[in-house]
């Protein structure tokens, strides 16, 4: 079936609009992050105690100050951006009559959408709204690269990709990669926070404004254990598909190899948290390395090294 050009143009517009809205949201998060007084937060924390729900704390805050207001605007903008982002993806899918992740541009679009959605969900569960700027920055960069360097016109996919495994395998890869972005960023922040805690001179301005190390650690862990089984599932589906398409379920194709490496790194992360002397800082380093592998696998392997996965 021919590609619906009109819808694909609308998809391009909503994609750009979403990226632009994220940039505005980023600015608002940054304002909140920069002007928020760290002392106030810890005070509020003591008042309420550990077990109370987060939402209650926000409502209990005595008066809404300006940074707070910026934070709320930022969340609203993030949700708006995510809706635009979602419609860009759906329009692509409708325009091309297939799952909208058949090339690197579409893949990047879907991964960043998952990451933003995951972040919106996490903001409602943890008091980490101020970190939005750090999560949105890599997302906006990825979207910019996607929309410029990797942009591909809407088109049908080649025969090898015409399989229902495109839906199953690639969506699992997208969801897990998007989710892994969050713990990747949070783990880097964790490392900054613990360095600041050990030596207040380091990250002196920035460190105190981060949530405490424990929250960051828990956030990273819980997102990772959610993403890891999906990632494993994605790799296994990939193997099943490879068996049907390429004649073997595993052949150490560069993409497969790096996916395996990232899997091993995340497995190492899960084990390190159960091992004395490895939890904390080392675990955070491992998690960041894991996400670095995911990014490396997406860009370097697809674009620089020729392999069976080079579709873009």
């Amino acid at each position: 079936m021919p590609v619906n050009e009109t819808l694909s143009t609308y998809s391009d517009w909503t994609y750009s609009a979403a990226a632009l809205v994220y940039v505005f949201a980023m600015i608002c998060y940054a304002v909140e992050q920069a002007f928020n007084r760290a002392a106030k937060k810890s005070e509020a924390k003591e008042l309420v105690g550990a077990g109370a729900p987060v939402i209650g704390r926000i409502e209990d805050a005595p008066a809404r100050d300006r940074p707070e207001r910026f934070g709320r605007i930022a969340v609203a903008l993030t949700v708006l951006g995510a809706l635009l982002h979602l419609s860009a993806l759906v329009l692509r899918g409708v325009a091309t009559h297939r799952a909208p992740w058949g090339n690197m541009y579409e893949y990047g679009m879907a991964v960043t959408l998952v990451a933003v959605t995951a972040w919106i969900v996490l903001m409602s569960k943890f008091d980490v709204r101020r970190l939005g700027v750090f999560v949105l920055t890599p997302i906006v960069i990825l979207m910019f690269l996607g929309g410029t360097v990797l942009y591909t016109d809407a088109a049908p996919v080649q025969p090898a990709l015409q399989s229902y495994w495109l839906i199953v395998h690639v969506s699992a890869a997208i969801i897990s990669s998007g989710l892994f972005l969050v713990p990747g960023v949070v783990s880097v922040l964790y490392l900054m926070r613990t360095r600041h805690d050990a030596n207040p001179a380091k990250f002196a301005k920035f460190g105190p404004k981060l949530p405490d190390a424990d929250t960051l650690d828990r956030l990273a862990y819980r997102t990772t254990i959610f993403a890891f089984p999906i990632y494993t599932f994605g790799i296994i589906c990939g193997a099943i598909w490879a068996e049907a398409a390429w004649g073997r379920f595993w052949g150490w194709d560069p993409k497969e190899t790096v996916a395996f490496v990232a899997w091993v790194v995340y497995a190492g992360y899960l084990h390190s948290r159960a091992t004395a002397g490895w939890r904390g800082t080392r675990a955070a380093v491992i998690n960041s390395v894991g996400f670095a592998m995911i990014v490396f696998n997406l860009f370097f392997i697809n674009l620089v090294i020729a392999g069976l996965h080079s579709y873009a």
Binding site: G51, A155, P156, Q158, P159, A160, Q162, S163, W165, R218, Y221, R222, I225, F226, F228, P229, T232, F233, I236, A239, I240, W241, E243, A244, A245, W246, G247, R248, F249, W250, G251, W252, D253, P254, T257, V258, F260, V261, V264, V265, A267, G268, H271, S272, R273, A274, T275, G277, W278, I301, I305
Partner: protein, 511 residues
């Protein structure tokens, strides 16, 4: 000596070592993605070694071009395997013991637990305990009478976490074993078959263009089946992008072989033929030009030989079609008069002056640009040569010389100086098939599915404990305390605990 062995064993099976081995494995796998590998692309490896001098040679000697078969990679995963076994065995015993164990004693001071709630209820202690037992259905329970007359219930739940964890790890062991067995008994062969009704039979390794046997396969015992390729169809979008490839084939296996019954099948990219325990894949396709040589004495030879694509987008192909002069018995004489037609084939010809390129991958308007060489093709020299090219050394030492160069459309011919005519008749299609055999891959799949299930259970199920203590007071009242403790890293027990505690501590429940 015993101590040394024991220490080695302990060292190898400690979590710290396992972690280090895991990261070594990740690190050791990386060169396989960054450097060309013999298993994937031998020509690239040769080019890399040639292009990098001593560095390439060193890498080669260190097995960096066969990473996944190298000594160091194998050493790491073998140690990891041992470490895993050493870690799993004691845990399995622990697990078996824990399955039979009762939930632990109620702590004396429940208020010190991370989750704790208490209430004074107007109900008898026995009723409270009965209600608790009813509410905690599905938990492992034990009820105890305490020294001061209080009664308590210890409950524990989430044993599935460890079950899942063990299943995951054992399934991983199973996967590794199945993989290793597969490497012994698998085989993989590739063959080009012309799509004009030509047949291929899996009866011996010589029928293949290339064959890769497992460690225990000698090629004498292949699964018998035959495939006949009747037709090949490639659908393209107007842009030249491929839309679908379909090879119409017939096949016979098992009883069909004796009865000579053929069954039809549409072989496509994502749907291999599965028969006789083997799989047949459509890997690629290309064109085979037909040339007819008419010698001055009127004798004719016609050949259709596959040429290989040099450009995957336009399917511009190259190759060499080699002819022996007919009726020449003297080998010396024959080796002076052999003919080779070599050059380029464009399925959709675009002429830039005399330069031939291809404008589209489909067979719309074919043409060839060929050199005709005469002399010794080298086929009788005993040295192997590619079916797609000429033996350049024969040209270099002057035994094979170019006698004509021409662009031809179907039906056109070249006439050589001695009157020999070479006619380009047309183009056939060929498909490249791969036959794969791996008797253990279904076990790899089963293990992988178990791994996913185990992983899911071990990461989502929470191992948690809950205690209820009912201390009888005067006038039939009872002080009820509830305490909870999550035994795993996972947060999120609080919500469940609050719900349970609220139900146990609400007065309505007590009465």
């Amino acid at each position: 000596m015993i101590a040394f062995l024991r220490n080695t064993w302990r060292g190898l099976t400690s979590m710290r070592t396992a972690l280090i081995l895991l990261f070594l494995l990740a690190l050791a796998a990386m060169p396989g993605a960054l450097l060309p590998q013999r298993s994937l692309n031998p020509p690239n490896v040769t080019a890399y070694i040639a292009g990098h001098g001593w560095w390439g040679t060193l890498l080669d000697r260190m097995q960096f071009f066969d990473v996944y078969a190298s000594v160091w990679f194998s050493a790491i995963y073998l140690m990891l395997f041992i470490s895993l076994v050493g870690c799993l065995l004691p845990r399995t015993f622990e697990y078996a013991k824990a399955l039979r164990a009762q939930p632990v004693l109620t702590p004396r001071n429940l208020a010190r637990l991370p989750h704790h709630e208490t209430a004074d209820l107007d109900a008898a202690a026995a009723d409270v305990i009965a209600a608790a037992r009813a509410r905690l259905r599905g938990w492992r329970l034990v009820e105890r009478e305490e020294a001061d007359g209080a009664r308590s219930v210890s409950a524990e739940r989430g044993y599935l976490r460890e079950t899942g964890n063990l299943i995951f790890h054992f399934a991983m062991l199973g996967l590794i074993v199945a993989l290793a067995l597969g490497k012994m008994f698998n085989y993989e062969g590739q063959v080009i078959v012309k799509a004009d009704g030509s047949e291929f039979c899996n009866s011996g390794t010589l029928n293949y263009d290339s064959f890769r046997p497992g460690l225990r396969v000698d090629g004498t015992d292949l699964s018998p089946f035959c495939v006949r390729v009747n037709d090949f169809k490639a659908d393209y979008l107007p842009t030249g992008q491929a839309d679908m490839f379909t090879a119409k084939i017939d096949y016979q296996a098992g009883a069909d072989l004796a009865a000579n019954t053929w069954r039809p099948y549409d072989l496509q990219v994502n749907s291999p033929l599965r028969t006789a325990g083997d799989r047949v894949y459509l890997l690629g396709h290309g064109y085979a030009p037909t040339f007819t040589v008419v010698w001055p004495n009127g004798e004719e030879r016609r050949q259709t030989i596959q040429w290989r694509p040099v450009d995957n987008l336009t399917l511009l192909s190259e190759g060499a079609t080699k002819f022996d002069p007919p009726g020449v018995t003297d080998s010396e004489e024959r080796r002076k008069r052999q003919l080779v037609v070599t050059g380029l084939l464009a399925p959709t010809a675009l002429m830039h002056d005399k330069l031939l390129t291809s404008g589209f991958p489909d067979l719309r308007d074919p043409a060839v640009a060929v050199d005709v060489l005469r002399g010794d093709s080298g086929l009788d020299s005993g040295r192997g040569q590619s079916i797609f090219g000429i033996d350049q050394s024969m040209v270099d030492n002057g035994r094979l010389t170019k006698v004509a160069r021409e662009n031809l459309r179907p039906g056109e011919a070249i006439t050589l100086d001695d009157g020999t005519k070479i006619r380009f008749d047309g183009v056939e299609r060929w498909v490249s098939l791969q036959v794969s055999h791996d008797p253990t891959q279904v076990w790899v799949l089963v293990s992988a599915v178990l791994m996913i299930l185990g992983l899911g259970a071990s990461l989502t199920v929470k191992r948690r404990r809950l205690w209820v203590r009912a201390v009888p007071q005067d006038e039939g009242r009872t002080v009820v305390e509830v305490g909870g403790l999550a035994r795993t890293d996972q947060a999120g027990y609080g919500e469940e605990f609050r719900t349970v505690a609220a139900e146990l501590l609400s007065p309505r429940r007590g009465t």
